[in-house]
Every structure is written in C-alpha cells, then in structure tokens.
Amino acid sequence: MSGIRNLIGLVYEGVKDNRLLWLLIIGFALFPIITHFADLPFWNDVAMRIMLLGMAAMGLNLVLGYGGMVSFGHAAFIGIGAYCAGISQFYGITNGWVHLGFSIITCGFAGLVIGYLALRTSGIYFIMITLAFAQMLFFLFVSLEAFGGDDGMSIDRAEFGFIDLYDPLRLYFLIWIALVVVGMGLMFIVRSRFGVTLRAIKSNASRVEAMGLSPLRFKIVGYVISAVVCGIAGTLFASWQEYVSPDIMHWTRSGELMIIIILGGLGTLAGPLLGAIVFLLLEECLPLLLGAAAPAYAENWMILFGPFLIMVVMFGRGGLIGLLSQLQVRRNARSDHRGP
C-alpha cells in the first residue's frame, strides 16, 4: 500500500514541479483540433516530428543532463530503433508491438555494450568514443546492401492491432501516448532513488563511491534506459516516415539532439520537449522568414541558424527553462516588493 501511496506522491510532486511538461503534453493533445479548424494538416506532421525528436532528446537528457555524461552518439540508437522496424518489415513482420519489443531489446543490449565500453573513459574521450560507436553503426547500415545500403528502404507503416496508422490522427495519438509514457517514466526515474543517485554521481562520483555504491553500474543503467527511449522514438519515426535510411543516424543528428536539450534546458523534464518545439519551428520558419526578406537565399537558412546556436551557448545559460524561471523569480520579487 505504502508503495502505491509513494508512487502517487511522486507523481503528484512531479505534477507540481513539472507543470510545464504536462502543459506541453496537453497542448499536443489539443493541437490537432486547432490544425483541423485552421485547415493546416501539414502542421500535424511537424508536431509529430517535434514529439518524436523531443522524446529522443528526453531520453538523451537522462544521460546528458541528469547523469553528466556527454554522449555524442545517441543518434545510433534512433537508427537502431528505426532499423528494427525496417528489418522486421523486410522479413514480413508487420506487427508494431513486435517492432517495439524488438527495438527495446536491441537498443537495451546495444546500450549495455556501448555503455559498458565507453563509460570506462571520461571527458573528451567519452564524447569521442560514443561518436565512434555511432559512426561504426552508421557505416554498418550504409554497407548492408540487403536493406538498401546508402539509399535506405521504403517500409509500410506498422500495424498496431486495431490502430490503423494510415489514419494520420491515430498515428499522431500513438506517438502522443508514447510521449506520455516516456514522460511519466522519466519523471518517475528522475525522482526515484536511482535518479537521485545518478545526479549525485554527476556532482561528485567519488563521494558516491565512498558511500558504497558503484557509480559505473548506475551510469550504465542510465545509459541503457536512455538508449531504449531513443530506440522507441526511432521505431515510431520509421513508421511515421515510412522510410528507413542510415541518414536517420548521421552524426549531425546526435548534435541536433544535444542542441534541443541545451536550447530547452539541461537536466529538466520539460526542457527537451520545449527545445524540440523551438528547434523544429525554427527549422520550418527560418526558411519562410528568409524567403520573405531575401527570396534568393531562402534555402540558406542555416546561415542564421548556426550563429543562433552560438548565441544560445554564449548567452543562454540554462536554456529556455532557465529563462522562464528567471522571469518567474523576477515576477515573484516584484509581487513581494508590493506586499500583500
């Protein structure tokens, strides 16, 4: 009983602390209504991409933000997840639940192996070895001619029992439910003893070790969990895209995930989702803006996006969440000043 009460307590605490995450998730649930009445079905697609990338970034954030391990190779797990769907489809297994199970097991195993090997190093070496493993897998899939090699392969959307994914709204809500599950799972993990230990390891690993815990074991478990979350996002991504290619796990994607996290706020639950919203909106809107200002250069929106990233790093400590909480503090200070 007390376990259940604790669980409810944890969820309640989380609701209080992470109102923003729930607000965003509710927002995503209501978003199709807006696009329906505004007749902008294209934006549903953007929202699905935001949710998928946000989900992957949330997974990476467990390692990056809470665990302090700068993994530069998480795109590999998205890719493995996507190829789990692709390869299953290739062999005629169309059931989406099987894809997800396959992806969870494979990504968990890959995360375990890569984590075990990579976590023996730290600092720059860790960044580089995770990148190397991601590149290894990238080239592995590039050279697998049976599954399309460099060009990738088109696949059908998976079958999730009664959920017909060719109905765009059902796909949307399948992704949404996955996002809710991942969000709640991560919220629980972050507040559990495991999550607290992980954060303690980030701030001082030797002290944790002195208390009789093995930091490496906690780090590996965290790495595996984040790999699995990225894998789930990847599997759904494949179904959404109806196409799998090594491009999905290009090293720049790992960079993108990091950008999303930093943009939103490192080590926060809502941060990655918020970051994904801003990142993909910029990706959609910058070409339009640039097209309006200088039509000849509409395709060269990256020329603005690169410096924007640099600005975020130079001046945006704490990301958007940090910015929001600063505003909050300022407002509180003002109302305190006025008195009751």
Binding site: F133, M136, F139, G255, F305, P307, L309
Partner: protein, 306 residues
C-alpha cells in the same frame, strides 16, 4: 599483380595518412592544450580547399593558389580564435560541441552561398600530372606521391618545431600542464591563438592538396574531421607524435582494409557471406581499432599529459 596492388594501395594509405595527420596535428593540440572540442576544424579544410581552387581558377596557376591559401587559412584561424574560441575555453565540453557545431553549419552555408552547392574541380598543373613507376610495371600518380612528400615534409617540420624550438617547448609544456605553464610566465593567450592559427593552416593545406583528388564541396571536411578525431584519440590527445603514428595507422587500415578485407574474408567464409560482410567490416575497421585501443589504453597510445 598482387604485389603491385599491395604497393599501390599502401601508397594510397600513406597518402590518406599524411593528409589525416595534417588535419589532426592542429586539432590534437587544440584538444590537448586548450581543452576545446573544436568540431569546426573540418571547415578549415574546406576553406583551404576553396581558397586554393578559387585562386587557381582565377590566376590559372595551381601553385599561386596553394601559396595564397596558406595565409587565408592562417587568418581565418586567427580571427576565429579571437572572435569566438577564446570565449569557449572556460566552458564545458558540451557547450563547445554546440558552438562549434553552429560554426560548421555557418561555414557550410557561407560556402554554399558564395560558390554554389555543386562541387568545384581543379586541374592539376602539368608538372604534377602523369604517372611515375615506383617499381617496374607499377605506375603511380605523381600528384599523390607529391602529396605524400609534402605531408611528410610538414610532419618533419612540425616535429622539429615542437621538439627543438623554444616555442615548441612552450607548446609541449602547455600540453602537459597549461596552468603551470602560465604560472611560469608564458603568455598562454598568445600561445593559444598562435597554435590555433597554425593548426587551421595545416588543416587548410590538407584541404588544398585534397582538392584535385576529391570533390571540393560544402561539408567536404566533415568525414575528415571525424577520422582525425579518431586519429587523435588513438594517438593520445595533445600528442603530435601520437597523432602522426595514429594517422598513418588509420590511413593504412582504412585503405588496405577496404581493398583486401573482402578478399581475405572470402578465403575464410563462403562467398555470399564475405561479399555481404566484407565492406561492412572494412568501413567499421577504423572505429573498431579505436574502440579496442581505448579499452586497453583509455588515454590513447601516447598520452601527452604526464
């Protein structure tokens, strides 16, 4: 037949190795001394290649292109350090990754606007085109041989500079312990900027020399960047000697692996499996090497920090 093939591919591997070394030499110092994860080093390669190709196209002389591109890349490194990188020294690695990732996007797009998305091709001067027989019956392109020689000359130059000169001693001291070096009264800021600009310059030289062999296009430096990061990690961050040895190893493994591994596999397993797995394993070989090195020697083969 096989001997000439092996010889030819070994030379190709050497050529890839010395080019990698030119990129890695500066980067290993940037990583080791300044502790900055600088991902935009590939952009310096691209800048060098474009500068050389553009000048060569404008003047019609390959060598003028080469010599004018050297100051261009030096200047670009110098300005970049002054404008951005010096503000990143005290930041953590993740922020450095992001800021320099932003730089990559910016430079690629800048080049795309300036020169268009299509690849530039530059012609070789007559004195460097054609073949030379390295063994009777084994012709080899003069240009690639020239690249190997220039690369080796640069490597020897860097080695003498680092191990014999006063500034080289400062560089080594900086790689070993930057705080102590600064405490001994060495102006570490100027040293950093100098190393950065020289490193950019060597990356640029690699780009210029690659120009006639590969396509000069936006983003051309990125595969080279990733490989040179592998080189640096294998050799040990901050060690120029390690970078040279690792670059040659990586260049040879990559080139020879791609050519001979499928054939070697075919003698062990059946044809179909070998044809399927050969190219896959060959392209992963470099990364497997790096993983193995890191597992047994987590700080690389020749760690600079003592």
């Amino acid at each position: 037949m096989t001997l000439t093939l092996i010889l030819e591919q070994t030379f190709n591997g050497l050529q890839a190795g010395v080019t990698l070394f030119l990129v890695a030499a500066g980067l290993t110092l940037i990583l080791g001394i300044m502790d900055v994860v600088f991902l935009a080093h590939g952009a310096q390669v691209m800048i060098g290649a474009y500068a050389a190709a553009a000048v060569a196209a404008a003047t019609g002389n390959f060598y003028i292109g080469l010599f004018l591109a050297i100051p261009v890349t030096f200047a670009s490194g110098y300005v970049l350090e002054f404008l951005l990188i010096r503000h990143l020294y005290r930041r953590d690695h993740m922020e450095q990754v992001l800021a320099t990732f932003g730089l990559i996007l910016f430079f690629n797009e800048l080049i795309r606007i300036g020169f268009g998305p299509a690849a530039l091709y530059s012609d070789l001067p007559r004195s460097l085109s054609g073949f030379v027989e390295i063994l009777p019956g084994a012709p080899y392109p003069i240009y690639r041989l020239w690249v190997i020689l220039v690369g080796l000359a640069c490597a020897i130059g860097i080695h003498i500079f680092v191990s014999r000169t006063r500034i080289g001693a400062m560089v080594r001291a900086g790689a070993n312990n930057p705080e102590m070096t600064a405490a001994l009264g060495i102006n570490i800021k100027i040293l950093f900027r100098f190393i950065f600009a020289v490193g950019a310059c060597f990356a640029g030289v690699a780009g210029m020399m690659l120009g006639p062999i590969t396509a000069v296009q936006p983003g051309m430096g990125e595969p080279l960047l990733i490989l040179s990061l592998v080189v640096i990690i294998i050799g040990g961050v901050g060690s120029v000697r390690g970078a040279f040895i690792a670059a040659i190893i990586v260049g040879l493994i990559d080139t020879l692996g791609r050519v001979f591994l499928p054939a070697m596999l075919r003698s062990v397993v059946d044809q179909a499996t070998a044809d399927g797995a050969g190219p896959a394993v060959a392209s992963m070989l470099v990364y497997i090497t790096m993983a193995v090195v890191l597992i047994f020697r987590p700080t690389g083969l020749f760690p600079a920090k003592g």
